[in-house]
Subunit: 459 residues, 4 copies
């Protein structure tokens, strides 16, 4: 319904010293807390009492569809899980993760966040050499590489195979009896954190919020090119399997994907968004009566904007959080107005006011246009739109679902033109240098969707 | 999961001049927009092409469970709908509304928001006189009264029967071929608004947000004791079937139940909450570093508090809006911490700060205690809690689900004691006179849950 | 899919001396065994530990939909249940039984098999006198009569109310704390049997098969006008509340509805059908090569036909018992042939043979036509159809769902014409006197659907 | 619930000249008609309008679970489908067929009936050489062999790969743009037939009943080692890719698995069963009063027994065909008697009689014991049990799910001992030579489960 970039996945894993029913409980709490990273399918792989791997998957939401399938009252030592936003029309459950493979390195389950930009080429090469693929998931590549590695050693084949991948991956792998292995690509595109669950063992998660909720302590972030082997709740080995490449952490995680109560790449999401709002305010067009946000993605930046500018913050748009479905028989007019079921203006806040409205980004501009119209209808006198990120000009090949370049409104239009198209009095993007200034270590990030400077070329 | 008072119902209805597929579309949009007023069951009654009444009901949410049952591509002229929070263990669907009756006044469907405090007595009297009840809904009373009225006139029997009811009801009735009748009790406890859908006809709704979303204009509020008869999209009659009694509009609708983008009883919910926050700020204990809210119920009041006090507003608690379910096998510790899955502190906002936190009310104090602990764990230095309503001291008999008086924390404890119990540095309630000062017409409201001054005595 | 008369209901009940988990187990086993009497909805009412009545109902089949809702591990003393074939488009669950009422005689649940032919008149009278109906079930009538009876005595009001009903009912009622009351109308239209479950208590069932399966002993049949009050597993009272009227037991129960392993009205279903086949054979048109049946309804009669005639019995039609659903997009040709998915000829049995085929009855003739065509296509040389009942000439007003008189093929056509229409070489109906000769007490049955001699006139 | 050998799969496929909505309709009708061959999961693979393969699968029954997922109103040219009885605890859908693979021979979907006895060895070899397995289905082997075949030619790689397999397989493969390839192993274990759908194209099915239902003509049976390539509704090539090995058609298909209205391996199932009953009768122990069958598997043989012996056939056991589920809380006694819910004696048939009862086979003897007890309780005077197959002495490695040898009652007991164990007066098995005498070409069958003469040794 909304016009937005889509994060494609979240991963979560746990390894305990002793079998415990807490594993399933924590998997549920963790995946539920990462639900915003993928709502189409979810799954859990766990070691059964013979150290074989069992997998439970389902289309749909964690609480509604996965929870009833999770074994209750089942003590185990380790598990990994996944939430997924399915990017293409690819048949539902077949690509749901974790995927389970049996090869000469034993049983292996894998849960991955990321994308290999040259996956198709790698896949065709492997296929030409006799490989068989059953899913359209990047993860199969890794297992084929492992399986093609001579010898039977799980760890060394895993490491040597990872080295052959070029792309974005923050991954949890399960195998070799009771091991959980976490690793990140050498660019460090996608977030992955971990910490201690009391003295029971270790927990891994795409975002720290899911760790905080479980009371995990000593939270650290995997570094680009780092790999951690966890066995029976102990970290057996930590190593850098590769030199860091040009560090390329996904800045959109901070701009939009991650929860504001998470830290990703050692950066507080809330802090970043607040600062980006401050930066926007420094370049504000006008001191309007109020500043509002497009909830929830623009909330924190709008607070920063308000703090910097002194313009009062108010909640001018009400978001309905119930999961909606589209009524089938709708007219064109009804479809255009359908956004109101999710986002409705509060007239008493809007009417007669000059307004600054803050959102995280504009992709195609379709939702922004509806929002501006809504605010005009509610009596806004002037509407100045602020985006807490620069113009989106390029597709992402590292795990974000972006429309084609042609569909991106900023590739064809100046901010002034965009303002006209969406009906705003002005549109202001955060400048890339200002966005960088909000980061502690700006050189460690990927800005390819803004500046098309791609860390890995797509062939 | 949360410790809160529960609104019990929402109603929505539509009457058009000509049969249209828009009726079902609008029923869906309207009931979806009122979903916060009841999540346990929902239903729609509509006139079929022979002016007979058909009913569709389901346990669960509007989009998930009711929508698939609604007739698609079905032109009709009028419908009423209901969302319900089931107050007791009463068997699911049997009490779901609208209820459909056949009696000597024809087929009648009814969707009701409210409660008759002396329902049991009325029911026993009717039963003693031979009445048969199939549900535990108050609405059956009205139909029995109608049926016992001599003659066959639908309208006059309806009006004379309503006059015999003493309690809270904001009701939509459907019958007498193509009529929709809306009425409110003479005290005016529960909100009910209506307006014009272009020149197609009229729409009725518990809250105006659902009307705004459909583009309804000329929105008005039913007055206490008012009744409107709508037939084929025209208002056939508007009348006051009773003198106003002591106007007793439910102030908790403004404090908590209604959406901030609604107006109820001619008062803007947002405006009221903002003002109540301002009032609280005038009595603030201390100028803390920041003010935060318990989302989402404390949001607007916290903004008002910030505006009045000049203390910066921030978002210190992250709310996960996905519908959760409890993991079955949980330990006591896990159950205590379960609130975190829905509400998680943002450490970078909280740590090292003195904090004012605004919520709408304290009922039992159980959730507040968990929140305070969460904030302490996140490093809050001081926590001053502000409630944008006075102490809840009495049960409601007019349609709010309240715990027993004994369970209400304020009946047994002073604010100072409450602060100690929940772990806050101070607890401040909005004074009743300050709450009244936030209302345009304070004398028209019921404050019984605060001052135990009950408009209708419970026998 | 098939062209047949439909039985409308089955009832089952149990009363034990001591609370036992066996009650729910037996309810499940019993209702599952009566599933053929109604597949649209089912339900169970039981006394909870406070002697209040709880009801569980669902649309769909007993094993699939009701079982998951039944309380597990729940000791109770008494319950009644119902399976229902819904006759009209009346909204699913609202009419599902048992129905639960609260009136001046307390809580009453009711499960009924039968029909009051003059229900509409009774209902309108009651409505005119102020009664309110919420379902379209005949059972509401009884409760209104009870409620209108002065005084509070449950038993006497029940008995005096039953006396006012004129129609077909074999009913289980639950109320007055722990009582189960079973009764039959004075004509005795519908079957109802009961017996002892060891020394635990009593079980009631529409058919004896469900009793046999549970090991019930001392099985007896309620007589027309008999009523039994069971309390805590003991028969407290047995009485004839009315003189027998012209005994009018439904002969179609023996012809078609009941399971062949049941006895109804003291007659063995298998024995009856076998004998009716014998009778048919005595009037056979020709000694064909084989005799086959339309499974499963014609099976037993075909065996009797074979035994009498000496013509070998074979299985020439294969029935697929999996529950089918219609593919939505079908052509006219596909719809016509759809019967094959349920009934397919066995070519090696049919080819080149002269065939006698036995079915229980012809209603509209549509299925018979398809079957004859199927057999012709499979190479049958001659096909003589035998029906183990006389021509169906009249609608039933006592609990069978019949098409309108106009639709009945026999009202407009002679057997010879029917043979031509359906493509058979001959069609032979069992003569009414021959059918009567198969019964032990032929005068105690209703043959109205054959001879239009209605025991109760429909006004 | 029953003690029986289980067929593991059924396959069905269609290839038409022109895109037609009939493909999906026929897939539904065909798979529904093969439902008895597998009730745990089912699926359909079809070519979309770009000649890519789409797969739809589900756990559960064809009508209930698969039908709602099939594309409606969707013209396509070819599809294959599968019903599956899952033999092990292997996680539901992951092993459901058709399986879809992408390899250097393109996209390939496969639906298979059969088993490779030395699958584990083949799999371990392939894994050792770098293969990756995602399912526990034998079908993956074939694709790995194809993929390892040099070059890109689909057909030649398929044929050369099939040649490397040693085991039972009757398979439908889909790929190479619009081709459907059907083939059988050189032993010919499992049935596979095909024929013409008017002039639209070809249909393939495990059993002919599914072909008859669709009006398919010119029905032929694939021979052992035969392969047929169908493209756009035309047979492009028919070849024998291998010399016949010792023909080893599964005789249990005739004894039990196939529908009586099917022909398998050119033998009419009905004819075979009827004859096997005749053979049994020739060795009957005694001329009893009646002969009955264990429905439905013993029906036809019992008819043959009756015909030969002149002992009247009757239906003494009533089978309830509704799908049951086990009540969770049952006592040991209840579990023992649970069979009655599916199979109930007809007392009037049984009481006081000497009885011959015919079933297809005894596996463990548990169900037989319950049936004999049931008949005794119903008053049978003598019970002689006849099995229309010889003693089951060996496990099957070619696609039948058999218990371990130890569990087979006949491996440890003589017929006399078995009679004692199950409570019968005598137990008579069909002699192997008599069974062979019922077949047109007895040398072409596998009798390994009876004589342990395995066509392929299990290593």
């Amino acid at each position: 319904m909304f016009d937005e970039l889509k994060e494609e996945c979240g991963v979560f894993g746990i390894s305990l010293k002793n079998p415990s029913e807490d594993v399933m409980y924590n998997m549920y709490m963790g995946l539920f807390s990462l639900q915003h990273r993928g709502q189409e399918s979810c799954g859990v792989a766990y070691f059964d009492d013979k150290s074989n791997i069992q997998v439970v998957k389902s289309a749909g939401l964690v609480a509604e569809k996965l929870l009833p399938q999770l074994p209750q009252n089942y003590p185990c030592t380790a598990a990994i899980g996944h939430v997924r936003y399915s990017t293409t029309g690819s048949a539902g459950l077949i690509n749901a993760q974790p995927l389970l493979f049996k090869c000469n390195k034993g049983e292996i389950a894998i849960a991955n966040n990321g994308q290999l930009p040259n996956y198709d080429i790698l896949k065709e090469e492997l296929i030409a050499n006799g490989a068989i693929f059953q899913t359209s998931s990047d993860s199969e590549i890794l297992i084929h590489l492992m399986s093609n590695t001579p010898g039977n050693d799980f760890e060394s084949s895993l490491i040597s195979s990872i080295k052959k991948l070029d792309g974005a991956f923050s991954t949890l792998v399960m195998g070799d009896k009771n091991k959980i292995i976490a690793f990140k690509d050498p660019y460090g595109f996608k977030p992955l954190a971990y910490g201690k669950l009391g003295d029971q063992g270790y927990v891994f998660s795409s975002e720290t919020a899911a760790l905080n909720i479980l009371g995990v302590t000593d939270i650290k972030f995997l570094e680009p090119g780092e790999l951690i082997i966890c066995e029976n709740g102990e970290i057996k080995q930590k190593l850098h399997y590769s030199d860091k490449k040009k560090a390329s952490q996904c800045v959109f995680e901070l701009v939009y994907f991650a929860r504001p109560d998470s830290s990703v790449f050692s950066e507080s999401v809330h802090q970043f968004r607040f600062n980006s709002g401050r930066m926007l305010a420094k370049n504000r067009k006008k001191d309007t009566d109020i500043v509002i946000s497009v909830p929830d993605s623009g909330n924190i930046a709008a607070l920063g904007f308000s703090r910097e500018s002194g313009i009062p913050f108010d909640m001018g748009l009400m978001r309905n959080h119930y999961t909606g479905r589209t009524f089938i028989r709708t007219t064109q007019k009804q479809r255009e107005e359908a956004v109101k079921i999710k986002l409705n203006p509060i007239k008493s806040v809007i009417e007669g006011k000059t307004i600054s409205i803050v959102d995280d980004s504009i992709v195609r501009g379709t939702t922004s246009k509806k929002i501006i119209k809504m605010l005009r209808d509610a009596g806004a006198k002037e509407i100045h739109m602020y985006l807490s990120s620069p113009e989106v000009l390029g597709c992402c090949y590292y795990g974000i679902n972006t429309p084609t370049t042609k569909e991106l409104i900023s590739t064809n239009h100046t901010p002034e033109e965009i303002a006209k198209i969406i009906g705003a009095d002005s549109v202001t993007f955060l400048r890339l240098e200002d966005l960088r200034a909000c980061l502690k270590d700006p050189d460690s990030f990927c800005y390819a969707c803004f500046n098309q400077d791609y860390p890995i070329k797509k062939i």
